[in-house]
Subunit: 457 residues, 2 copies
């Protein structure tokens, strides 16, 4: 199909790696709305945020004018252990699909955390260390973020307390043990270690926990202990900033070979991967230099962009975190047991929400059986066994490539392959055994979530 | 500790990748002894081997004079999907150990099979396809080889039947599902699908199986069905040939930066990784061009080199495969439940056995708790979570680096990091919980295995 003048895998040299993150907000005319205090509904001040988050990270969270922010040398050195990540030309997939489209994917799974989460974990751990903290707390659902953070904390000698949703703690012992290998303490949530945990256990004995509850416990643990702060792996704008390394590397690699993508695709849960991948390209679009077609892919079971409302909402179920303006299904919305745990979040990054609301990108939702079909097709020809989350992007990349086959267009498609599915084999097993169901919430289901939205201003 | 003029990860360009495998036997004065027929004890003829193995692979197995053998283009293209693998400078480990030694590792885990096994699997699948076969059969214990072969067969559209030791089939469902994702049929062994399986089930109802039994079933299945052959992931000389890609890439990367290793270390089970890594360096040593200190590391629980006998023995417990002259504990030796399943083999590649017998390399055995200590130490600073097998090499690399600390010598140490431990978290859990024991066979234990050695000549 092609002459293969482009290598299968484009690796940048170390000296070509980005030395600065890119802050897409600097180029946005319509800035994302500010975080609001959950009680007063006034914009959060830096001092208020610093009680929960590291000082430097608060600065990054609030800075919507500085386009480029230096990556500290220690972080760049850590990046060098597993980055630059390869930009892969999917020759074998193209061949199998018999499409004239040229497909590339940026693969973030070649590290032990198994995903892109490490890019922000190491930055957050670094700033915590710089501030002289003893440790950090966080929550984890499927476990990718917790694993990444435990690796980062291990590197800097920080204590790492992970509240892991109890059902995952029990059903995903392997993830738990990876975190323990990196010296993290992992507590099944809800637990007796926090007041909020105790209250929940009293009210719901035998509960298997939820991400919202784990967040509340992690925030309480961070603020209750001297020398600790809370860190979060997605949704926040600082996370998108750190994840811009994905997009910057992708752009450098493409530029090196004179390739201009037509379509850029990413899966979207809280937005960390998608935001990081598209940021520098979106910057060009915002500045009127180039145009790209961006596609956010979300599960049909948790369709915050495609069926949500653009409104202020709580970031957590416990309603202790600040309010963010975002596309949301309501913090009370409980998504069905979709196997892409990393995409089961009721809201969406406020940056991506604003860009979407401004008509700068498209969103699509897909059902999980079709996602696993794409995952398996991809694995068989490209070798990599993808995470269910990442496979949402694969699904749409294949769909777009098949459209090219119909029209004969030689479009260049780039998608983000955020991670591997080694710890998701139970989901693959269900798929193989024909036991996987699809779930699409009814309008009535969604109404319940919307009814719980806070009334602002 | 160092000025870091060497990159953290040395990646070769695609055009620097080897175009030929290197056959170390060509440079050996004392050639490995020939395979013998299990019944007649006469050297196996090509025609006899071709009943079980693919024609071209038999040719490679028997060729001990051709130094370089072309890698077919299709195999090179597949290699490009996951190779060249990085040669990593372990700056962080050096820093943690405060050693003047310079440590490098060749990392083979960045592919879905999680290990170096794919290097030979794709070659064997290719030759099966070339011969017009419908499919191949094999056995797998821990599952790395089965996974690699299923990926390779999927790529070439070959049927892949894997006999998986029943206890692993049940305890490692994730591995099984990875193989199924790649379209392989996975049968718990012993099974009712073969005569030998039926016999064993009748004699030992409720048995959890063994590698020896699985081999016998796979061989029977291959010879009973039209258009099938049997393939094997280690021990055989053809496998070492394919795995020479590891050593060739390592050497090219080192040469590129003017680095000469003093010590080269690899874990040793059947010998596929160690043989592949050291081959081109050993070639230099055999030709008198350079000298290196090679160290084979094996588990103390299965010490074929350090405590075995150099004798003709069966390659399988079922005694249906040819006899090979090798360092062996006897095909009847049953190693304890060490967590490095890939190293639980009673014998050793005949090539490595001959080299060892000629005094060209050292062998050491280590106990598993010390191996897991090294694994965890490595993971925490280098990020990669290593497989228990690979961690044997890490253990000795750290030991050697600590000796350098004492003596002040700035030795250059290279070791093979064959794979990742994502599917070995049960073993890590045991280690974390202090439930891991060490086992070293007594001389009496070994005697039983030696007593079963066949009397040749």
């Amino acid at each position: 199909m092609s002459d293969k003048t482009i290598p299968y895998k484009i690796y940048l040299e170390e000296n070509e790696m980005p030395r600065q993150w890119y802050n897409v907000r600097a180029d946005m005319k319509n800035k994302p709305a500010p975080l609001l205090h959950p009680k007063t509904h006034q914009p959060m001040k830096a001092e208020e945020l610093e009680a929960v988050f590291c000082k430097e990270l608060v600065k990054q969270e609030l800075d919507d004018t500085t386009a480029y922010i230096d990556i500290p040398e220690e972080i760049r050195n850590f990046y060098k252990m597993y980055r630059p990540s390869p930009l892969v030309r999917a020759y074998c997939l193209e061949e199998r699909l018999q499409t004239p489209a040229k497909i590339y994917y940026k693969f973030e799974g070649n590290n032990t955390s198994g995903s892109h989460k490490l890019n922000s974990a190491i930055a957050q751990a670094y700033y915590a260390k710089q501030q002289g903290l003893k440790g950090v707390t966080t929550e984890t659902g499927a476990g990718q973020w917790g694993t990444a953070l435990s690796m980062a904390c291990s590197y800097f000698g920080l204590d790492c307390n992970v509240y892991m949703v109890k059902v995952s703690y029990e059903q995903k012992p392997f993830r738990r043990e990876v975190m323990r290998t990196y010296g993290a303490s992992v507590t099944p949530s809800p637990s007796e270690t926090t007041e909020v945990g105790k209250r929940i256990l009293e009210a719901h004995p035998g509960t298997s926990g939820s991400l919202g509850c784990a967040i509340s416990e992690a925030v309480e643990a961070a603020t209750a202990k001297e020398g600790y702060r809370y860190v979060l792996g997605s949704v926040l704008t600082q996370v998108l900033l750190h994840q811009s390394i994905i997009g910057l590397e992708t752009k450098t690699a493409l530029d090196k070979y004179g390739i201009t993508p037509d379509i850029i695709i990413g899966c979207a849960g809280g937005g960390s991967n998608l935001g990081g991948l598209i940021s520098p390209f979106m910057g060009e679009k915002l500045r009127g230099e180039k145009d790209y077609h961006f596609i956010a892919v979300e599960p049909a079971s948790c369709p915050s962009l495609t069926r949500g409302r653009y409104a202020y909402d709580f970031c957590d179920t416990g309603m202790v975190c600040p309010l963010a303006k975002m596309y949301t299904l309501g913090s009370g919305f409980i998504p069905s047991a979709n196997h892409a745990g990393g995409l089961r979040y009721h809201g969406m990054s406020s940056v991506l929400s604003q860009l979407y609301d401004d008509g700068l990108m498209e969103a699509r939702s897909v059902v999980q059986t079709e996602v696993f079909e794409a995952a398996e097709q991809f694995a068989r020809v490209e070798g990599i066994l993808p995470a269910p989350e990442s496979s949402h992007a694969i699904r749409v990349a294949i769909d777009e490539a098949m459209k090219c086959k119909e029209t004969g267009e030689e479009k260049t498609i780039v998608f983000g392959l955020t991670g591997t599915g080694y710890f998701d084999m139970m989901a693959y097993e269900k798929f193989h055994n024909g036991e996987m169901a699809d779930y699409v919430p009814t309008d009535e289901d969604l109404k319940q979530g919307f009814d719980g939205l806070p009334q602002i201003g």
